[in-house]
Symmetry: none
């Protein structure tokens, strides 16, 4: 039927009871469908059919579509964040942190395009996702400003500009071009006031190791 994408929730519930496995099947199906058809256009029956279940089964596990999508988005956010956090633990330089975070995120997007697709689409509907992202990103930006790397005062506009540049990268990257990751990171650094040449150098040394 669908993708070779990894089943996030199913993987997590392999050794749990039947109830949890069915739940996970629904959550994973929702990811596939939403990635394809979008949030609004996804019908309950799309999800249950994709999971090989009866429509009524949906309501044994979720109140409504809203609740399901919440869990999907939350699960995805946690999973993706885990990867990024791991990479970032030992990095102190703010410019490098921004580069690595962006690049790791975009790599996940190459590996699991459905996950990120859904996460992005959800972030319009589920504000927590967006606001969490803003919070963490802001911290690194302020750090970089204090460290003297970035020449621009941090405000909400700036944070959202960077998120927007990352999203653009995702949208254009249908062809899975790895070069776009570097260009995106460099663009973000330039937006932060770093010169074009310096931006390229920083991206190169941060990502080519």
């Amino acid at each position: 039927m669908t993708s070779s994408a990894h089943k996030l929730f199913q993987a997590q519930s392999m050794n749990l009871g039947k109830r949890q496995r069915t739940r996970s099947a629904l959550l994973d199906s929702a990811i596939s469908i939403v990635a394809t058809k979008g949030f609004e256009a996804t019908k309950i029956t799309d999800i249950t059919t994709h999971a090989g279940l009866a429509n009524g089964t949906f309501y044994n596990h979720f109140e409504d579509k809203e609740q399901l999508m919440h869990e999907v988005a939350t699960g995805l956010a946690i999973e993706i964040t885990r990867d990024i956090d791991e990479q970032m633990k030992t990095i102190n330089n703010a410019a490098t942190r921004i580069i690595v975070a962006t690049a790791t995120f975009l790599e996940v997007a190459l590996r699991e395009p459905e996950w990120v697709q859904v996460l992005i689409k959800s972030s319009d509907v589920i504000p927590e996702i967006q606001s969490n992202l803003v919070k963490y990103l802001k911290k690194d930006l302020e750090l970089g400003f204090e460290q003297g790397h970035f020449k621009v005062a941090v405000d909400l506009l700036l944070v959202n500009q960077i998120i927007a540049l990352t999203k653009v990268s995702l949208q254009l990257n249908r062809r899975r071009d790895k070069g776009i990751t570097k260009k995106t990171c460099a663009g973000i650094l330039r937006l932060l006031g770093i010169s074009a040449a310096q931006a390229n150098k920083l991206v190169g040394s941060a990502l080519d190791t």
Copy 2:
């Protein structure tokens, strides 16, 4: 019924026949409703009711919602572009052109928030809008690169990044803050490889006259 916004299509059809005026009323109503409720949530009856017409009348003028939205988006694009083109006729410096184009667009967004709101929302659904925008913007970017102002090679990613920065500005500008226009222009220039200080200077001299 509601807004003090200017009726784009009605204004254009004032002196035409009744058929055209009814058509225009529907188009203008669509703008108001879509700006408020979004594309998906807009019902045919919302539009006809707002226009003071019977629901059936809609189908005397349009095949379906899709077609209506096409015309709305096209009309808006033409109208808004007209303003910008006017401003740009005498400007040769690419950096200034980018600034003025962005600022003019954002000013229209302040004056006619519904128009721009709808245009943005439509651009997801109607690709021509986006691709037209890309075409014109690309020309100026290439000019700037040739002129030596911008330090970055022009590609589709770059164009879309600039568009994205402009959209972010719109989304955040619920409070009609004019300062955001300048910040947005400066951000675009930095993204194009101009230093933060130089970007601010250019924006200042382009917009403060």
Copy 3:
């Protein structure tokens, strides 16, 4: 499809517009169905099918089943009350008033069993019906007590007892036995403290003219 019963609402809307006639068809269909299957068991599609309409048409005229049933019950109450009021205008003796009101009501029930059936069933769900009935009945009972006909103090229990006796009459009168009307009136008078012999005499002279 069904009964030879008179179409209350259709009769009232014969010369009105199409909208009103369709509305009335739905109201009359509701009466037929509710009389047969009861309030709870009546589905929207039962009503529309019986009226020869599409299910969606229902919602062009009513918010939901609740609203429809309200109108049905109100319409029936008005119609039935009209008959009774007519008969009672010139009657001053309270005992006679009670007899005539009960007998007229039971006669309507013989003529239009569906109407009364539905009215009774509605009175559980729509309290206004019941409380209106209580109000009017109470007045006559108090009059009779003042006039010295009835030996029993009027209270809510008494009023409800009389209503209950009338309902029993309806339930048992599947065979359309006119004798039950007299027995019911006599029973009510006995309940009000009138002797069995006197009760029969009063009923006889009130109804045999």
Copy 4:
């Protein structure tokens, strides 16, 4: 979970096997739920949840809701009848029998409102209840007519009128007013052709001992 009401079926099955005890738990739960929410609105899961059982367990004991309600109603009828029969064994005077039967029934209703509530609601759906009641009541009424106490010929209408008066008493007696019992008995006697004064006297002497 809730009421302090006595568990009829559980009490009867205390010393029987587990199967019987589970059955009884379901029957008692059904009484509680139906008394609160009514027959139609009672869901299978309401009953099983209240009994602390899984929903599937229901079908190990009953065919469907219908069968359950049959057993509930039958059990309640037997239990309540037992009390009344006990009281009546030594009473020969028909008027006193009617008074005591009614009063005992209404007392049970005060003590176990759920039982009677459900019994009344069931009697619409399960005709045997009603017809049994009719049979026993009819016997006493005929006795009273032979004894010369009641002035009215016994027929089905009369029997149902008396039942109706008893039900009215239950419906109005939300506030647990003991006075209503006496008024109800007196009303029944008046309906049977006994004068108001005599009715009050009989009720007084039958119930005040």
